[in-house]
């Protein structure tokens, strides 16, 4: 450990490792990072254990880059541990920022998830079912696993967060920019979203926008799309108007609609409500029955409106 180097931890809660790979994918840039920083914990790549973190003094870390949502008690425990040890806490990627894909589970109950995963999964041998318990006695020893919460939380539901880096995963060039800013000590105001733009994905999208009047919504495979024209104008639901840019518009550029991983625009409270308001404004009818029919063309609207942000939405979860 060199005293003049930044002390850094990278950790994952309920995530997929894609954010860690996004950091690894900066390739040789990691050498620049390593020149100015000691990485003290990074499960995907280094041998740090929880006991090493527990042994640190409070505030010993300069920075924790936390990806993943909070799904269970271990995620919360380690988030709180790292918060205590760290001067700066960065929520990195969609899951830590707003719940991400794992928060889609907030539409189901814990019991429904357990039933599907542990009792009625097609790959389960008949009769060979186990519902995990937080504590199991084996011989004279005890095995413990984290408690699975009733819903998914975003990182700032359980700890104070200093900065947010959106994206699923954050684009590599944005990762570099953020790490450079940290290394230089030039940090934006607490609570800022960094590594992203202040504009909407639509503002950066090169597709032609003409008149938004939709008589029917299509699933992407139901029509041959015009690759030069706004997807929404073609009736393909796209979250670009409700989503912060900074991703490089990579999905619409590849003929796939935006699903909103960079989160809401600045000063927008609820990304899904923003998207629904855009949808409502383009329906080309004044007849209530026809309007209902047109909107019925969108299946799983919740899954589009809150694909990456259920835990950060006003709804947060289904209540049953």
């Amino acid at each position: 450990m060199e005293k003049n180097k930044l002390q850094v931890a990278l950790y994952w809660g309920a995530g997929c490792g894609g954010c860690d790979v996004a950091v690894l994918d900066t390739n040789e840039f990691i050498l620049d990072l390593a020149a100015v920083a000691d990485i003290r914990l990074w499960p995907i790549a280094l041998d740090g254990k929880y006991k090493d973190v527990e042994a640190m003094a409070d505030g010993e870390l300069d920075l924790t880059i936390f990806n993943g949502a909070v799904r269970n008690s271990e995620n919360e425990h380690v988030a709180k541990l790292l918060r205590r040890k760290s001067k700066l806490m960065v929520a990195f990627g969609s899951c830590a920022h707003l719940g991400g894909i794992p928060a889609l589970a907030n539409q189901a109950t814990k019991e429904e998830i357990f039933e599907r995963a542990y009792l009625k999964n097609p790959s389960i041998e008949e009769g060979n079912t186990t519902i995990p318990e937080t504590m199991t006695r084996v011989g004279d020893g005890e095995l413990t696993i984290p408690a699975f919460y009733k819903r998914v939380y975003k990182l700032n539901d359980v700890v104070d967060v200093d900065l947010y880096v959106p994206g699923c995963p954050p684009a590599p060039e944005q990762v570099k920019a953020v790490l450079k800013a940290v290394a230089s000590g030039l940090l934006p105001l607490k609570g800022s979203v960094v590594g992203a733009s202040e504009r909407a994905v639509c503002d950066d999208c090169k597709r032609k926008k003409e008149e938004k009047k939709v008589k029917r919504f299509h699933r992407p495979w139901q029509i041959i799309q015009d690759p030069d024209r706004c997807l929404m104008e073609q009736g393909i639901l796209c979250a670009g108007s409700a989503t912060r840019s900074g991703c490089g518009v990579r999905c619409p550029n590849s003929n796939m609609p935006c699903r909103g991983c960079y989160g809401p625009l600045p000063n927008v409270v609820d990304q899904g409500a923003k998207l629904l308001s855009a949808v409502a404004s383009i329906v080309d009818s004044k007849d209530p029955e026809e309007i209902a029919r047109i909107l019925d063309g969108i299946q799983d609207i919740t899954g589009y409106a809150y694909r990456f942000g259920m835990a950060g939405s006003l709804l947060q979860r289904s209540i049953r």
Binding site: C16, L104, I113, G139, S254, D300
Partner: protein, 196 residues
């Protein structure tokens, strides 16, 4: 009281895991348990969503091997539609998967596993008490193959919009460049690789 050795968390792979080793009084191993204390519930929360969205959702099962989950999702969609995959689509998928294969092996070997195997004996053990990271040394070794990694990253970038969240190979996605431009650039790039 017999001792317990706890390895928590398991590192250098995707996902959460821990190992508990129970020892006898003489220090021999009595019992050993490997646990995966993690569930996100994809099995449940994909239910009821449009099938063509699944290849975009299940990639987040694992961000280290998203291509495998993406293609599994794409094949499931193929199965639901009962259609036959056009030869061009099959080739694109294959090319994409090969690129992922190269990326995954390079990432696993150089960033995750090799430092223990190659440098561990000399550095990690000698300096076990120090948190001084081996990352720079390991990555210096990785840079020896960075050019080939750069090549595959380039290829993946042409085939999909996001390295870790592949989207485009199901339900009418197309490479950002367009197929003809891709073919031209690919031919040029392969020629460059050959001449190195």
């Amino acid at each position: 009281m017999a001792r317990t050795i706890r390895i928590d968390p398991i590192t250098r792979l995707e996902g959460h895991g821990k190992i508990e080793i129970f020892l006898n009084d003489d220090g021999s191993v009595k019992d050993c348990h490997f646990q995966i204390p993690e569930l996100r519930g994809f099995e449940r929360f994909v239910v009821g969503r449009p099938i063509e969205e699944l290849p975009r959702i299940v990639t987040r099962i694992c961000g280290v091997c998203p291509a495998s989950h993406h293609l599994a999702g794409a094949k499931a969609v193929d199965g639901c539609f009962g259609g036959e995959l056009p030869p061009l689509a099959a080739k694109l998928r294959d090319m994409y998967y090969q690129a992922h294969y190269i990326h995954s092996h390079i990432a696993h070997f150089f960033a995750l596993a090799a430092p223990d195997l190659a440098l561990g004996l000399f550095l990690a053990y000698a300096d076990a008490a120090s948190p001084d990271p081996w990352v720079p040394k390991a990555l210096l070794a990785a840079l020896a193959v960075a050019r080939s990694e750069g090549d595959q990253a380039w290829l993946r970038g042409r085939l999909e919009p996001r390295a870790d969240s592949p989207y485009v190979l199901a339900a009418r996605g197309e490479p950002a460049l367009g197929l003809e431009a891709l073919e031209e650039e690919l031919a040029r790039r392969l020629e460059e690789m050959r001449s190195r």
